[in-house]
Symmetry: C2
Subunit: 317 residues, 2 copies
């Protein structure tokens, strides 16, 4: 891909916990694809205008947070207490700057909260009420708890809790997981990654997954790649998945796609379902997953938007 090395690239995901093929209606599929395409166009507009990868991933993730179909921002899942606890992270590969928030409910776009931590505090990670208070003082836009809540997520909580009472183990990842994320390379060669999630349906309050853990669900370093992950977060934390891919690129000199595919396949073998999107220093993209599907897409310099959900050819639009 050396011929494209000066060209901007953006990839997004809307979570590896997709609806089962049988449960996916044409209308639902159209909605998910429209959401992915909208996020890709929002990020591509930044890159096409000469903007920074950091601004592109922020714009793309904001678009996905605003879309109630995806488990982040509006449409976030409920904890077992019926509350929302959102996590997000952003990382700028130019200088390896990072910001993250966990367990927050208030800021309308959690990814902007993570970015404020990165740019306007000396810290990398703020959690809970302290993080919310910081966002308030930073002047971020807030929303009432009801803004984040959707009927579909409320039904998912009721179903999962009823299943637990009945001793049934939830096996449908679509009802439990979900994350959104973006990675980008801009014309200057800078990389960036952002990830945002409502976590798991019926999660224990206080549970933090991989999304806001730098090196697990989110990582970016101009020297190697930018990665945003989705899936069974505990596995991604234990194996420091995003940083592991960057480390293979740097220390083993593996091509990005080879490293990303290998790590995701290994995770699958030990029971860690999920996937990720990654972009390399040369603009190469990788979007591997080890489960039924992952809402995903990418766009390169020509502005053509490619989206896919299952193991299927990408649809261009």
């Amino acid at each position: 891909m050396g011929d494209k090395s000066d060209r901007p690239t953006l990839a997004v995901h809307g979570g590896a916990g997709t609806l089962r093929r049988g449960a996916m209606t044409p209308a639902a599929e159209a909605g998910y694809r429209a959401g992915l395409a909208g996020a890709l166009r929002a990020g591509h507009a930044v890159l096409a205008g000469g903007g920074a990868a950091l601004d592109a991933v922020t714009a793309a993730v904001c678009a996905l947070e605003d879309d109630p179909l995806f488990n982040a921002g509006r449409g976030a899942v409920f904890t077992r207490d019926g509350t929302h606890e959102m996590d997000a992270a952003v990382m700028d590969g130019n200088g390896c700057r990072a910001g993250a928030v966990a367990g927050i409910c208030g800021p309308r776009n959690p990814v902007l909260a993570a970015r404020a931590v990165m740019e306007r505090s000396p810290h990398v990670m703020l959690v809970g009420e302290g993080a919310v208070q910081f966002c308030r003082e930073a002047g971020l836009a807030f929303a009432e708890p009801g803004y984040f809540s959707t009927e579909a997520r409320r039904q998912a909580l009721a179903l999962v809790l009823a299943q637990e009472t009945a001793g049934v183990v939830e096996t449908d990842a679509a009802r439990r997981h979900g994350t959104v994320g973006a990675v980008a390379r801009d014309r200057a060669g800078n990389l960036a990654a952002a990830t945002s999630t409502g976590g798991m349906t019926a999660k224990l309050p206080g549970r933090v997954g991989d999304s806001p853990v730098i090196g697990a669900g989110t990582y970016a370093d101009n020297a190697s790649c930018a990665v945003s992950a989705t899936g069974h977060g505990e596995f991604f934390v234990r194996y420091a998945v995003a940083h592991e891919i960057a480390a293979r690129v740097v220390h083993r000199r593996q091509p990005l796609a080879e490293a990303a595919v290998a790590v995701v396949a290994e995770l699958g073998r030990i029971g860690g379902s999920g996937g990720l999107v990654a972009v390399g220093a040369d603009g190469a993209v990788a979007l591997p997953f080890n489960c039924d599907g992952m809402y995903r897409g990418y766009v390169k310099d020509d502005g053509i938007v490619y989206t896919a959900i299952y193991d299927e050819p990408y649809a261009a639009s």
Copy 2:
């Protein structure tokens, strides 16, 4: 060190933010060394009895948490609100299992809270009130907030806040930082790491450093090494320091000591002061730091305890 490959090894640190040489009295130094030696003996007793690395690091970190001289558990620093918010993590290199807590005040030994998350929940990281509630239900020993508070830390908070009011930047790491940690290799060849901290004096409530971030301040994988870090946490998170060392051992086939020294030196060059303790799959230990000093020590099969504070020969006892 191949001749020692079946022998147990333990290394501990009590933080990279040491007292300046000029401010260290013989009595204070004796206190720190006694604390380190006590932790090393507690962990060594486990290993010498054929116990697991995981139990050894837990015992060593509990000893350091119980010692008010160190910034973890009893003796934790104060947030700017005058509260304590403690973080801890533990990782078992056998299976890469991990547990972490952040922003908690209640459990008497935060490292036991992290271990309960690992062993008694499906999660890796719990934060804030949700984490405290989980610990209560798990039956962990709790302490009143006053148990953690010491007069020395209260004076440090007052001083830092007064300095901020006066526009003076605190440059004495000893007053702000501090962490405790341990790494071990047991006779079976299993590795483990544990880290615990009260964070930074006068920190923003909700701030989380590297200690509970798996891959940043804490990591263990039997295939490579176990690492526990201390220092300016934000840098350790941004560069995924603990996992970076493990990755160099695996992917670059660097000897552990070489990898650990190189990463710590690089951190120092970009302004990230601190250090770490690490033990490799062959039982080799590394205790590098890039600042004035780091409370540290190690013990091998012969039970002789070695401690040091500054760049100086280790004292045996």
